[in-house]
């Protein structure tokens, strides 16, 4: 009976591992193939049968993408836009979340309700009115136009998540500071922010990745090739060079590596962010 039980457990573990491995292969093979294509010379990217290990691996696509095709420049644009968006959006939403979590004031429910409406309307539905607005504000074809609208688009979700985190910080700590005569700003800076580092990291990572990967808005407002971010540069690049798959995937790998690095470094924040609903399907 006991021996049978152990056998059953082992067989179960074995079949679980086998199924998971098969699934993991399906998940990762496209990436492996992308990596291998990025290391192939142009004339071999369409060879049949396909080779997973390139016969004559070359880094020509990477140097080609980075130098002669300006991907270094697009990379920099993406870094600037995503970093600025993250800093501004996280700061502004932390301030709003603090107000909603710790103060009572007239109009509190109304303002929070308006924020929730912003949370429910999908970003791409607002493409047309936002485009007309950006045109009026002279923000078309500029990195500033990306930062302003990315920041605005991330505020509702960030505020919502941070507010619930701030609410869980015991009020007694703040009361002690009030007794000592600390004003709201110093309570925010010296108490709330330091205690909320994990939540701020989660919100910051998601904001950064959302701006790093954003496509539709950048495609719509950016015309000047010098102001492209990586996603539109890669997409338009593929349109121009229909068969330069090696270059396309070298550029893609360049865009994806920072994301994977961030993911590996901050796995815990990722999981807590996703399970609290930070990343939509």
């Amino acid at each position: 009976m006991v021996v049978g039980g152990i056998h059953r457990t082992r067989a179960l573990l074995f079949s679980r591992t086998a199924l998971l491995t098969a699934g993991a292969v399906l998940m990762t093979v496209p990436f492996a193939y992308m990596l291998s294509t990025s290391l192939k010379p142009d004339r071999l990217v369409l060879e049949v049968p396909p080779r997973f290990l390139p016969e004559h691996p070359t880094t020509a696509n990477y140097t080609g993408a980075w130098t002669s095709n300006d991907f270094g420049h697009y990379f920099l644009n993406s870094v600037v836009v995503a970093a600025l968006t993250t800093v501004v959006a996280v700061s502004l939403s932390a301030m709003m979340a603090f107000a909603f979590a710790r103060f009572r004031f007239p109009g509190r429910r109304l303002l929070f309700g308006l924020l929730l409406i912003g949370l429910m309307v999908p970003a791409i539905m607002l493409l047309i009115p936002q485009f007309l607005l950006a045109k009026k504000l002279m923000l078309l074809d500029s990195l500033a136009g990306l930062v302003v609208f990315y920041t605005g688009g991330n505020l509702a979700l960030n505020t919502f998540l941070l507010r619930s985190f701030f609410q869980d910080i015991p009020f007694e700590l703040e009361e002690a500071m009030i007794v000592d005569g600390a004003g709201p700003w110093s309570r925010f800076r010296r108490l709330i922010l330091p205690l909320s580092r994990p939540a701020l990291a989660t919100v910051g990572i998601f904001t950064f990745l959302a701006s790093w990967d954003e496509f539709a808005w950048a495609l719509t407002i950016i015309n000047d090739p010098g102001k492209r971010t990586l996603p539109i540069a890669i997409a338009l690049f593929q349109g121009q060079h229909a068969t330069s798959w090696g270059l396309v995937f070298a550029a893609s790998v360049i865009a994806v590596v920072p994301v994977i690095a961030i993911f590996v470094a901050f796995q815990r924040q990722f999981v807590s962010g996703i399970t609290s609903g930070a990343l939509k399907g």
Partner: protein, 322 residues
């Protein structure tokens, strides 16, 4: 509540704090707190109002006009004409059917496979974190990159998919022209959607499974329940609200499918694979018909809203009964 206890707290002197005029200070403090709250809100909320709320209000208004992009030129008010135009537009209906098909393919598959993976990963397991990372890799990769990648995999003559299906396993008798025909192209797009989304539902289901009390499982095991029966009787009921959440989010997400279609087929050939958002984008930013584009956006928003409400109701009912 916190406010009414505030003044008494302040008037009791703290560590060495001198409070010269307790009553006035309490009132002034209350007012200052309100002002502080508005000061904290102002910069963020102003930006949010301009960049998000105002466009929401404008979206419906624009859809009522034959919108003119020329500065100074008047836009003609059309009333609901743009909506009537959608009802008589065969491409709109095809885009709606295609979007529905995409939803029907991707949502159940992502839930079933995400749940299966989570169940397999739940419990003691070697290399668990590594498996989780592998399944999550497509989720964190940008839509642009994975769309181009799948376009490459589904190439007719030299794509990996046709090579596996035709040359290796002989499942198909010839190389399928995946992206050249409506339903095969939609299947390829659906495959991408499922592949990219499994990791997301898996992580959520895994977190939910781990919050199911262990002793419930043990009690069921003592009663002689096998793994399948334990899953049905213990895990599944506990997962119900999470499944509801995941379903609603995935349905919303599937109606928002855009980048993959835009980059893989761009709605072609001949508008056969348009989904609602690619068709909206074409009307607005290729034909510069902002009024009609806005009407299409608005219809999509309404559909998503109604579907979400219906689902929330469907999922709530059995719980209320039980």
């Amino acid at each position: 509540m916190a406010v009414s206890t505030g003044p008494t707290k302040v008037s009791t002197p703290g560590r060495g704090a001198s409070t010269p005029r307790p009553g006035v200070l309490a009132l002034g403090r209350r007012r200052r707190e309100v002002l502080a709250a508005y000061a904290f809100l102002a910069p963020g909320f102003l930006l949010f109002a301009v960049v998000v709320l105002y466009p929401i209000a404008r979206a419906f208004q624009i859809s009522l006009y034959d919108w003119s992009l020329v500065p100074g030129a008047a836009s003609d008010f059309l009333g609901l004409h743009n909506y009537g135009r959608a009802l008589n537009d065969p491409v709109f209906w095809r885009a709606l059917v295609n979007t529905g098909f995409y939803m029907a393919v991707t949502v159940p598959a992502q839930i079933a496979l995400g749940l299966a993976t989570a169940v397999l990963l739940d419990g003691r397991m070697p290399a668990r974190a590594l498996f989780r990372t592998f399944y999550y890799l497509p989720v964190i990769t940008s839509w642009v990159v994975v769309s181009l990648l799948f376009r490459y995999l589904f190439l007719t003559d030299s794509g990996l998919v046709n090579w596996v299906l035709h040359d290796v396993t002989h499942v198909t008798s010839h190389n399928v022209d995946w992206l050249g025909e409506r339903w095969t192209a939609l299947l390829a797009l659906g495959a991408l959607g499922v592949w990219k989304g499994i990791g997301w539902s898996m992580v959520i289901f895994l977190a939910a499974l781990q919050s199911v009390p262990r002793d419930l499982h043990e009690a069921a095991a003592v009663d002689g329940a096998g793994p399948w029966h334990r899953f049905r009787a213990v895990s599944l009921p506990a997962l119900r609200p999470v499944i509801a959440f995941v379903t609603v989010m995935l349905v919303i997400g599937s109606f928002n499918v855009f980048i993959s279609v835009f980059l893989i087929t761009n709605g072609g050939p001949l508008d056969q694979t348009q989904v609602l958002l690619t068709y909206m984008y074409r009307q607005a930013f290729t034909f510069l018909d902002f009024g009609y584009g806005s009407a299409l956006s608005f219809v999509l928003t309404l559909i998503v809203l109604v579907l979400s409400l219906v689902q929330l109701r469907l999922f709530r009912r059995p719980e209320a009964r039980g």
